[in-house]
Symmetry: C2
Subunit: 277 residues, 2 copies
DNA sequence: TGAATAGTGTCTGTGAGACAATATTAT
DNA sequence: ATAATATTGTCTCACAGACACTATTCA
């Protein structure tokens, strides 16, 4: 035994155990604006995720989440930020740890543990800033009691995957899904995407994270569209306005030009409150 | 470049990068029954956490969560179960991944990433099964907007710690706390405990996890006490009964002997429903 | 009998769901 | 004028908070 902590540390051999590798993977969500024919109608919105085409084995040519090995002096959060910066050139965006995936065989090369993060971005803020093998995929999500099915489409390619939510009796963990169908995604990334969707839906209801996907000024109609496209259901206008009103402040700006009554622009109250204190 | 995945894998050198070590730490919560003088009164309940005294450096003689390095062929979840079994001799108990803590300097020896799990147990099920350097600590939790303070007491020792919740603008993560005061806990375990308390409080309201800390038969009064001691506030009887009634079924058993009206025993509905289908 | 908990009844206010009604624009 | 969205009004119903009341036991 050693006499004190210093002495102990100087003798400690950190190479004794065989260690897993650790990566940080980032699930980047956004809501895309898609203009369509009728000048009167609003832009359609799509729930979208950022994927990267793998150029190397394993899973060469499959799509995966942006991510990579963490440095020995870098936190997983820092690694996620680094990856995000290099793929989207965005900084200071919302990032939260999602889940740590660590099935022993999730990577065929070796034991790799993936700490996944969820990021929310306003797609309009990044213009032509995507790295060239990255691409946004619109998502259509179908969810029932037992399954989450997602269809992905980036304009050129379209494919789908589905995962099952099976609840084991005593180890119930919301994110312990199981891949049922997957052909075009690398690793266990279907699980990560499904977990992220589930988390986002939940947090939408009891936090203010949605504003991380919004521009500074927005109409309540636009905001409602974002909720609707993520939650995948229509909301009633008056109810939505009631609920959201406390989180948002009216500005004196309006949005015109839509062939219908102009819409007042709002901004997120959060920051404002801090200033006004 | 390699011609196919197999060829690639056979050449892959997994020792190229310097890797962190990975541990699995388990936050075991329970609610302790403490009998007290007056024969009429109900047992007092205490929110409790299981800690282990460290026998080695670093942090020799400080208290920490049960945990340990994961095997190269073992998931963090399996490691958590293994640890739990060895400390409490309990199996098949509720276990969910909490958060992955990975500050670069969180362990003075070397880079160690900790995947933490939260477990809920019914303390009555384990009799004298604790390993000998483990001990239950009753917790008193004080929480306000900015701080969580916890006082721990196992009968012999009493100490407290506190962590601050600071919300950074764009990286808001509920579990990114900061240690303000800590003298007796090893590593960053104050953060883990605070995160777990926060998660448990939340999940109490919208899931059924509480029943993992209950015996098969319980009275609504006892169940209410468990809620009250975890949420740290009194609940109104009629409201509580209304809300909980859908999750629970009445049995024909009663609990007598308390110097007051006997109380009907209930059981959790979850399992029952599956059988009756 | 009385201390203590078990359990029920009911009033009130809040807030969500639903739907109707009005307002305003560009073509 | 019309299609389309913006915005507000209001009715109803469910439900949580609050408090009062009744029920039952055992030293």
């Amino acid at each position: 035994m050693y006499r004190n902590e210093e002495e102990f540390l100087s003798h400690y051999d950190s190479s004794k155990f065989e260690k897993p590798s650790v990566t940080s993977d980032v699930l980047v969500f956004s809501v895309a604006d898609e203009p369509q024919g009728n000048y009167r109608k609003l832009n359609e919105k799509h729930f979208a995720v950022l994927l990267v085409k793998r150029t190397d084995y394993p899973f060469k040519d499959k799509w995966c989440l942006p991510g990579g090995f963490i440095g020995i002096d870098e936190t997983t959060n820092e690694a996620a930020k680094r990856v995000l910066k290099s793929e989207t050139n965005l900084e200071d965006i919302y990032l939260e740890q999602l889940y740590t995936f660590d099935e022993v065989k999730r990577d065929p090369r070796m034991r790799i543990i993936s700490v996944s993060y969820m990021a929310l971005v306003d797609k309009n803020k990044l213009q032509n800033k995507l790295s060239n093998n990255a691409s946004w995929f619109n998502m259509k999500v179908l969810e029932d009691d037992k399954t989450i099915s997602v269809t992905l489409d980036n304009g050129n390619e379209s494919f789908s995957f589905s995962v099952g939510k099976e609840l084991r009796e005593h180890t119930t963990d919301r994110y312990e899904y199981k891949v049922i169908k997957n052909e075009n995604l690398a690793f266990d990334h279907p699980l990560v995407i499904a977990s992220g969707i589930s988390r986002l839906k939940n947090k939408l209801e009891y936090t203010d994270i949605v504003f991380n996907m919004m521009p500074e000024y927005f109409t309540l109609g636009e905001l409602q569209q974002v909720y609707e496209v993520i939650l995948n259901k229509k909301l009633l206008d008056p109810a939505f306005r009631r609920i959201i009103s406390s989180k948002v402040i009216k500005t004196d700006k309006v949005k015109t030009g839509g062939g219908h009554r102009p819409s007042v622009l709002f901004k997120y109250k959060g920051k404002y409150e801090e200033i006004s204190k």
